[in-house]
């Protein structure tokens, strides 16, 4: 429709040697390089399997109403192969279409039921053709939207007036309500997580924490130790654990000056 049609030889090079692969921005094409036997592949990205299929049909210059399924399927699979070779993640969409094409190819190879009336036997390609025709329309409509938006972007509205500030043009829909609600629930989820953590620390663990901190630091400012407490109950546990280690004479408390910070060190 809008791509330059590249006259390419219908893939006679089924098992062609590794192609010179170049990934370019937009125009996807498989160009035979006549100087060598290699294929030079310029890869583009496709919106989906239907997009790729349409591209191949156009590239092969075949009729959409009479798709040579075998040929197009081979091309399609070859394209997927290239994508995979390029380490591009081949989305499930493309693989589903590959399966559809292979099934279609098989059906086309099956001999027709000689006893069936001609009109009864629908062309197995019909469904795919309908799908492609339908998709093609919206693909073209997307182009139309694109050009409309382009023109619109060349049109400017007046700058904001003082009066606008009373009426900001922010539209709220139902999904905004849902999102806001989820955010509120999210705030709650955080709190709940903290709650669980809080309850998980035991007296024994707190004593162990204090012991480790004093040992590793040699000298520990209790303010630092207490500040690690994440809740009131942890703070209580922290205080109790200090008392406990002092009681068992594992640590000693002292001050460098009157009213100074209280420090703890291992009792020698």
């Amino acid at each position: 429709m809008d791509e330059p049609l590249k006259a390419t030889e219908p893939a006679a090079v089924e098992d062609a040697a590794p192609a010179t692969v170049k990934v370019a921005g937009s125009l996807p094409e498989i160009v035979p390089d006549h100087t060598t036997d290699d294929l030079k592949i310029v890869m583009g990205d496709f919106e989906g399997p239907l997009d790729l299929l349409l591209h191949l049909i156009r590239q092969e210059q075949v009729s959409i109403y009479d798709i040579p399924v075998a040929r197009i399927t081979d091309e399609y699979l070859r394209y997927l192969q290239v994508m995979q070779n390029l380490d591009m993640a081949v989305a499930g969409d493309f693989l589903v279409m590959a399966a559809t094409l292979i099934e279609l190819k098989t059906k086309m190879l099956l001999p027709r039921d000689p006893f069936a009336a001609v009109e009864e036997e629908a062309d197995p390609r019909n469904e795919l053709v309908d799908q492609l025709l339908e998709y093609q329309k919206y693909k073209a409509a997307a182009q139309m939207l694109w050009s409309r938006a382009t023109v619109e972007r060349a049109v400017f509205k007046r700058a904001e007036l003082e009066t606008d500030k009373n009426n900001p043009e922010v539209v709220v829909g139902v999904f905004d309500l849902l999102r806001v609600f989820q955010e509120i629930l999210g705030r709650h989820a955080d709190e709940v997580l903290l709650e669980i953590e809080r309850e998980e620390i035991s007296m024994a663990e707190m004593i162990e924490r204090l012991r480790n901190m004093v040992m590793s630091a040699g000298e520990l400012n209790l303010r630092v130790f207490f500040e690690r407490a994440r809740s009131r109950s942890e703070l209580v546990l922290a205080f109790l654990s200090v008392l406990e280690l002092v009681r068992t004479t594992e640590i000693k408390l002292f001050q460098r000056k009157t009213f100074g910070d209280i420090l703890a060190r291992v009792a020698s």
Binding site: M1, E47, G48, P49, L50, D51, I57, R58, Q61, V62, S63, I64, A91, G92, D93, V96, M97, Q131, L133, E134, Y135, Q136, K137, Y138, K139, A140, A141, A142, Q143, M144, L145, W146, R148, A149, V151, E152, R153, A154, V155, F156, K157, R158, E160, L161, T163, D164, N167, P168, E169, V170, V171, V172, G173, V174, F175, D176, R179, E183
Partner: protein, 223 residues
């Protein structure tokens, strides 16, 4: 939509819905008082020229495309009279070889710069073209615009893909809105285009979209 908590940013609810409803009024006392006052001394329009001038002023101050009905309510006049005023204003304005145009978009009228001067305007505003929509999003938007109201599986089916990510993008950009649920198994949510869609794509209304069959003719000629 801004999410910072505690800011004074305000949100308007869907203007389309608000329009359909006429108005959803707040019981703000000062406003009630003002309106009462206005009712006592109705603002009258003296003549055709004054009406035109007032319409021009109102279109200018309105932050959204303004329709005849809203103007008629303020002037307490018949919408058809206002429409005639708008038509005369449009004729005058668009007849001038000027930098501004008066155009109809999303069911209302709005002043805007003429597209032919976009380079200068852009250079002045030092702005870069802002809106960015991927082709995937545009495809999805095209499907929704022509098939609305439509469900997510129906959209994906036409596009032949499985990921609904572009639908989410369009919702975030407010180009589409939820349009109720389909009376089918699972009551899936349906989507349609928004007023913002009309504005962003410069459409008077949905009927201004070319028929989808036109694209059929266009594409079948290709191969």
């Amino acid at each position: 939509m801004a999410k910072q908590q505690g800011t004074e940013q305000a949100f308007d609810v869907d203007p389309l819905a608000a329009e359909a409803d006429g108005e959803l009024e707040t019981a703000d006392s000062s406003r009630e008082a003002e309106r009462g006052e206005a009712d006592l001394t109705p603002l009258t329009v003296q003549n055709v020229g004054e009406r035109k001038a007032i319409i021009e002023a109102l279109i200018y101050v309105s932050d959204e495309p303004l329709n005849a009905k809203s103007v008629a309510e303020v002037l307490k006049e018949d919408p058809s009279v206002v429409e005639a005023g708008i038509a005369s204003l449009v004729e005058e304005f668009n007849g001038r070889a000027s930098g501004l145009q008066l155009r109809e978009v999303a069911g209302g009228w709005q002043f805007a710069t003429r597209p032919e001067y976009h380079e200068h305007v852009r250079a002045f505003l030092k702005s870069r073209p802002s809106a960015k929509l991927s082709l995937a999003s545009l495809e999805t938007l095209a499907v929704i615009a022509y098939k609305q109201p439509i469900t997510v599986p129906e959209i994906l089916d036409i596009r032949g893909v499985q990921s609904p990510s572009s639908i989410k993008t369009l919702l975030d950009k407010k180009l589409i809105v939820a349009k109720g649920r389909k009376e089918a198994v699972g009551r899936p949510m349906m989507y349609g285009t928004s007023k913002a869609f009309l504005i962003q794509f410069g459409l008077k209304d949905l009927s201004e979209l070319p028929s989808i069959e036109d694209f059929e003719d266009l594409v079948s000629g290709v191969v």
